[in-house]
Amino acid sequence: MSTFLWVVVPYICLTVFVVGHAWRYRYDKFGWTTRSSQLYERTLLRIGSPLFHFGMLGVVGGHVIGLLVPRSWTAAVGIDDHVYHVVAVGGGLVAGIMATVGMVILIYRRRTVGPVFSATTPMDKVMYLFLGVAILLGMWNTIAGSIFTLGGEYNYREGVSVWYRSFLAFQPDAGLMADAPLGFQLHALVAFGLFALWPFTRLVHVFSAPVGYLTRPYIVYRSRDEQELGSHTPRRGWDRINK
């Protein structure tokens, strides 16, 4: 069972994540967008969206540090566990609260503002469910697990993080995850579900974060495109095998 949950499922989700993105990018560049609803409603978005997105940037940054940097490295540069814990929980709380509050505002807006709600696809709703549950479970782990230590002391840097690195190195150690508290297990599972959904939702816009804008010339010139114009045979999608 633990092999299934902590080896098979994660790798399936990772595969779907990678292959799904490649496929979507080839097949559906036109659908690759943020699907902004700012035109419909701006007041709530003005507060909720930056809160959520900046919060999420913090959350993602925190996960990268927490999951990918081994305990021995931080110890080597002289950061002891207590300092690390305080910084991680403090930063995590701030980012997490920002993301949670932002998300609550955005979901409230999505539900109550008529035009925004009617522009919501079923895929959006499923995605919101996974994203929301993942964030709430993450907050629970931070607050209940790390601050009030409900259910006993657990240092994820000795458990979850090690498993995650072993997972990325294709030598997964399922036992580490099986020993983790339920909150962490659920959080990881929901997150993997979200990763599997990712390529098929509007979340793909994360991968078009326009950092290239900082360096490219202002005005783009392009020749009338021989290759990309629509007059050419369309690229193959998933269902064109009967050709």
Partner: protein, 549 residues
């Protein structure tokens, strides 16, 4: 010198009767889809008036276009690259739908479905955004013909600049129409604002386009364009803009708006310009100098050196010929009667305007004096400061002198030609008063008043050896090859791209077979005017004829 060719347009405002035919045919051709209801690639504004979207010219508020920083270098008025990325999650300068208008349709079915009753049934307006009943309170041309302008016109940002002199009273007012399309600027701030780099300027003809496959819907172009001529399609989540009807231009046809203009006031032709000088010209410190600076960027297509450099730059011989015959070059540089719209935005716009003499003529006529007399007209141009200053705010960043000069040329043409038309001896002192020869004056008259089709539109077609890459000629595979896949899986319009011609064919078919009005099940349905050559009735505009008719 780096010679580039630019497809450009000039509009002769004296001839505009404000019929909105250009807007309607453009809409039929390009934005007759859901998500684009409020999008007018071409719109006609009554000036003085608020424009579309409302008060778009107030750049203190909307922060569109460029400005000079303290060291005299160009920067985007909306803020630099870093600021742009930091505010990407909620664009603070994006106009809300209220600044445009909430699009609607009518519940027409009740007109025929309603049971017999005492009162005539009415079709209520339904919002195309929320689907609910709505009260219509604004639209794309709500203040058409100065309707309600006593209430709203004081908010016209251009009028505000000369406001202390304006009494907006019905008896003293003036008005004219201003048709607007995308300016296809030489220094487009929309393209510069686009974080994804999806907006590009075509090397061949300078047409500014949005790559729909690269656009990620960040909406920065909407706020970056000072003319607000980039719109956000709220269904596909992508930016859309006037395309200068490039599939038509590529095969030598004028744009739909120009082709269908009943006043024949639009001119289309090529301009050659020196791409190396654009930035320098746009950085001219004095706003009043921008008009002249932009004129200096244009190259004389008769200059042998320019011709040589153009050929080196890969511009074909027939394109250089077209640039020589270009009505745009004649109006901008030879006769100098065309002026750019809002040069102070520093985007180097390429749709220019011949300012209207009609506000002046109207006033002279009302006094009972001869409105074709040079003395009267010249005196009126000098005396009627308000219309002239207003025009200057639009076309020369407030500098009255160039507007004065153009209006006097137009007035002189009127007087000079009257003598000829009445069979009298022509008076060479009239053209001389505005620094023109008699022959030049007659040529200008011919271009402005006779305005033959071949002289208004000098559009060199793209070359046949490139035919396979032209949209209109796309013949590589049959129509049936397209559209077999699963459409709309990730929202409207997702999936592989379809050539415009094929897309139109499909939409036509869908529209003809759809039986819903608002929000048709196939969201793409529209009538195709893009390929219509003006003969017969455009396919899809009327329902198919039944078997008995």
């Amino acid at each position: 010198m780096r010679v580039m060719a630019q497809m450009a347009m000039v509009m002769n405002l004296d001839k505009c009767i404000g019929c909105h035919t250009c807007s309607v045919t453009c809409k039929q051709a390009w934005t007759n889809r859901s998500g684009t209801e409020y999008i007018w690639f071409n719109n006609v504004e009554t000036r003085p008036g608020l424009g579309y979207p409302r008060t778009y010219e107030d750049q203190d508020k909307w922060k569109g276009g460029w400005e000079l920083n303290k060291s005299g270098r160009m920067k985007l008025k909306g803020g630099g690259r870093f600021k742009s990325l930091v505010t990407i999650f909620s664009n603070p300068k994006l106009p809300s739908i209220d600044e445009y208008y909430e699009p609607w349709t009518y519940d027409y079915a009740t007109l025929t479905d309603a049971p017999a009753q005492e009162h005539t049934p009415v079709a209520r307006p339904k919002s195309l955004i929320s689907g609910k009943n709505m009260k219509i309170s604004w639209s794309a041309n709500w203040d058409d013909d100065l309707g309600g302008s006593t209430e709203t016109a004081h908010r016209d940002p251009m009028l505000a600049k000369i406001a202390d002199k304006v009494k907006f009273e019905f008896e003293q007012t003036f008005m004219f129409y201003l048709p607007r399309i995308c300016e296809h600027c030489l220094n487009p701030s929309c393209a510069a604002s686009c974080p994804s780099g999806a907006i590009y300027k075509r090397e061949e003809d300078g047409i500014v386009l949005v790559d729909q496959d690269k656009c990620r819907g960040w909406r920065k172009c909407v706020s970056g364009c000072p003319y607000k001529k980039i719109y956000f399609n709220h269904r596909t989540g992508k930016a859309e803009k006037c395309t200068f009807c490039f599939p038509r231009i590529e095969v030598g046809l004028p744009t739909v708006c120009a082709e269908t203009c009943v006043g024949r006031l639009r001119y289309i032709g090529l301009m050659l310009y020196d791409a190396d000088k654009v930035l320098e010209a746009a950085s001219t410190e004095d706003e009043h100098g921008l008009y002249e600076a932009q004129r200096d960027v244009f190259l004389d297509p008769f200059d042998p050196e320019v011709m040589r450099e153009a050929e080196k730059a890969g511009i074909a011989r027939d394109w250089i010929d077209a640039a020589q015959r270009s009505p745009i070059y004649a109006l901008i540089n030879t006769f100098r009667v065309a002026l750019p719209l809002h040069p102070e935005y520093r985007t180097m716009p390429m749709v220019w305007y011949i300012p209207p003499l009609s506000p002046v003529v109207d006033v002279v006529q009302e006094t009972g004096e001869d409105a074709e007399d040079k003395g009267n007209l010249f005196a009126a141009i000098d005396a009627l400061r308000i219309p002239v200053e207003y025009l200057a705010e639009l076309f020369t960043a407030g500098d009255v002198a160039p507007v004065d000069a153009v209006l006097k040329k137009l007035a002189a043409m009127r007087c000079y030609m009257r003598d000829i038309n009445m069979g009298r001896e022509s008076d060479p002192s009239i053209p001389a008063a505005v620094g023109m020869s008699e022959e030049e004056m007659y040529d200008m008259y011919r271009l402005l008043a006779i305005a033959k089709y071949d002289e208004r539109y000098v559009i060199p077609s793209a070359h046949t050896e490139q035919a396979h890459s032209l949209e209109e000629l796309g013949t590589e595979c049959a129509v049936s090859e397209y559209g077999g896949g699963q459409h709309d899986l990730f929202g409207e319009g997702s999936g592989t791209p379809t050539p415009i011609a094929v897309e139109n064919f499909e939409m036509l078919q869908n529209r003809q077979t759809a039986d819903t009005l608002a929000g048709p099940e196939n969201k793409g349905a529209r009538v195709n005017l893009l390929n219509w050559d003006g003969k017969g009735s455009p396919p899809g505009l009327f329902p198919p004829k039944g078997p008995d008719s």
